[in-house]
Symmetry: C2
């Protein structure tokens, strides 16, 4: 909680979380029980709940623990899941639950905002309200990707389309800082997603970003290029890619998971013997299901703005929404924005080193 | 077999297939038994085998059926799996098994060439020898993608990086023609891979390609935009994307399959009960394994050149190499190049329609 907050100045460890309580496919029905679950795990929370006051207060009666830690602030408008960003900005400026939740972060009344609302609208509003950090020209959405050796962070998952070398460099800095917040590693391994691992592969923006990362003095280990199959392997802690390909890679992986689980279900329904085998091995399938549960990886972090907004999946349930709040807590408590700002101070050095790379090749 | 061929002018239904017998991780050890398997399924084949003559003749002694249908042509050089395209062209021009196999297609001595050699070198040589078709500025690699409802064709899987609207349009034409050859559909559904399905989504090249496809009079059904998860669903018969993102999507899906099968194996090894369940349901796991067997989808087709080259996976076995030969047979017998050439005649119309789209919107 920044100074100037409304009701917990004396509790420095308390985080205040602004929730767009109308966001997502089911709004308060998911947001309220989700917030309650997060509060159960982490009692040092306060919530600002933005939305239809009557509806929220009615919903809160079943959650007295949450009610005691929440302030409800009425909003007139709810951004719909189909609103185009421009529509949402026109209709929802100042008066929507989504806008007001982000505005609370801007004004220091909340430490972080969480919304399950429509991604395009949320990013558009976040950019307008919070603005990009000094030195950052484009925000990114970073998500957690389940891998064979734990999670990795992948960005950009679709905040913007295309990125030049400088923007890819920024994504690496921001993703590295997020990995330090989320995984507690001191020097996360960062790779650039490309179509091959040799230095001459791919587009010039990616190659140039690689040269700059190799030379920059950052609290991360620049690994080099990684390929699409390194995502599932978990070769690096952070995978950097521009948003068009990042979004397609994410949805391709999600589609492949659904395809395989469908194949598997169909195959196990073939005969009484395969069905019996399924029953005996049910604990294995349950473990697999838990591992693939998208709710546990819920929470895309908007990086590069002067304040943190976490996007929950719109169709998630209370369990998933609570996971997005957990992500918000972790990056906020571990001072993600301050880490990014500190790391970005190397940028002038990095650019200079890039220009003089023939003379200054000791970092290669 | 085009006229002017060397030894089967009187057998118009016989296909002559040029094989780079030294290509792939294991060369003749895989190519020879693979060709024999293909011949077993399709006895109307003749082979030109390019490679080390002594080694090939020795290998052929175990395959008398294949030997009777093959001509061995000695080559001095084998392109290695690590050769850069420029190295391969320097070392292998005129004298490598890879070059000579493609050259046989160019000269009409073979109908199609198949190689398990390194993709970059194979594409570089194919471009130099065969040249792009009139009206095509860039070749593409098209592969078969297993989906929930059979296979789809996806291109470009990495022949080139980036594509403008005209090139994406060409990829759609070529992929559509390939779908007609492979699946026997008259009007395959073709979609453009994008980050959303609304018309204003994505990069301008993709949107412009979509407008042109909607207005062009082609033997295909232009479906619109598809997203990454539509690949696994099999929403369309042909998915079109430029090669950078196409390659990353392919490898992401491959990596996800490996990740999930590893998770599944680990889970099934948890206890004696899950192991017993696995044994009882083994037929289901075998069916799943068969469905995911990459060998059955082996064979990337180089499209857009004046002749067809099929790329087999370098690490495949005889079963997989035979599958790549099957693809070569199917696209050649069904006159893929002639179909593409005929379809491309609409291009001048399509471009014109694109320019006048405001006046000529009836196709929308």
């Amino acid at each position: 909680m920044k100074s100037g907050g409304s009701f917990n100045d004396l509790m420095p460890d308390t985080l205040t979380i602004a929730l767009d309580a109308m966001g997502g496919d089911r709004g308060p029905e998911v947001v309220i029980p989700g917030a309650d679950k997060a509060l159960e795990r982490c009692p040092d929370l306060q919530f600002l709940l933005f939305g239809d006051k009557a509806r929220l207060e009615a919903a809160l009666t079943a959650y007295p623990r949450l009610k005691a830690k929440s302030e409800v602030i009425h909003s007139e408008i709810s951004v719909s899941m189909d609103d185009k960003p421009s529509q949402a900005l026109r209709r929802g400026r100042n008066v929507s639950s989504m806008w007001m939740a982000i505005q609370a972060v801007k004004e220091g009344r909340a430490d972080v905002a969480v919304s399950a609302g429509n991604t395009g609208a949320l990013m558009a509003m976040a950019k307008v309200i919070l603005k990009t950090m000094p030195g950052i020209s484009r925000p990114a959405i970073a998500g957690m990707w389940p891998t064979l050796r734990g999670d990795s962070i992948v960005l950009d998952l679709g905040a913007t389309i295309g990125a030049d070398a400088d923007q890819l460099f920024d994504f690496a800095v921001m993703g590295g800082a997020m990995a330090r917040c989320m995984y507690g590693v001191q020097r996360p391994k960062v790779g650039l997603l490309n179509v091959g691992i040799e230095e001459m592969k791919g587009v010039e923006e990616v190659r140039e970003a690689g040269r700059r990362l190799r030379e920059a003095n950052l609290p991360l280990e620049y690994y080099g290029f990684v390929e699409g199959d390194d995502l599932g392997k978990g070769t690096v802690d952070v995978v950097v890619i521009e948003g068009f390909t990042g979004n397609i890679a994410l949805k391709t992986a999600e589609g492949t998971v659904r395809q395989l689980t469908t194949f598997l279900k169909d195959a196990l329904n073939q005969s009484w013997m395969t069905k019996l085998g399924y029953l005996l091995a049910k604990s294995a399938f349950d473990a697999l299901k838990a591992k693939l549960d998208p709710r546990t990886k819920n929470g895309g972090v908007f990086l590069g703005l002067n304040g943190i907004v976490v996007k929950s999946h719109g169709g998630t349930d209370a369990f998933g929404f609570a996971a997005a709040i957990d992500v918000a807590i972790q990056v906020t408590r571990n001072k993600l924005i301050e880490k990014i700002a500190a790391d970005l101070t190397v940028k002038s050095y990095a650019n200079q080193a890039g220009e003089n790379s023939a003379l200054n090749a000791e970092g290669i």
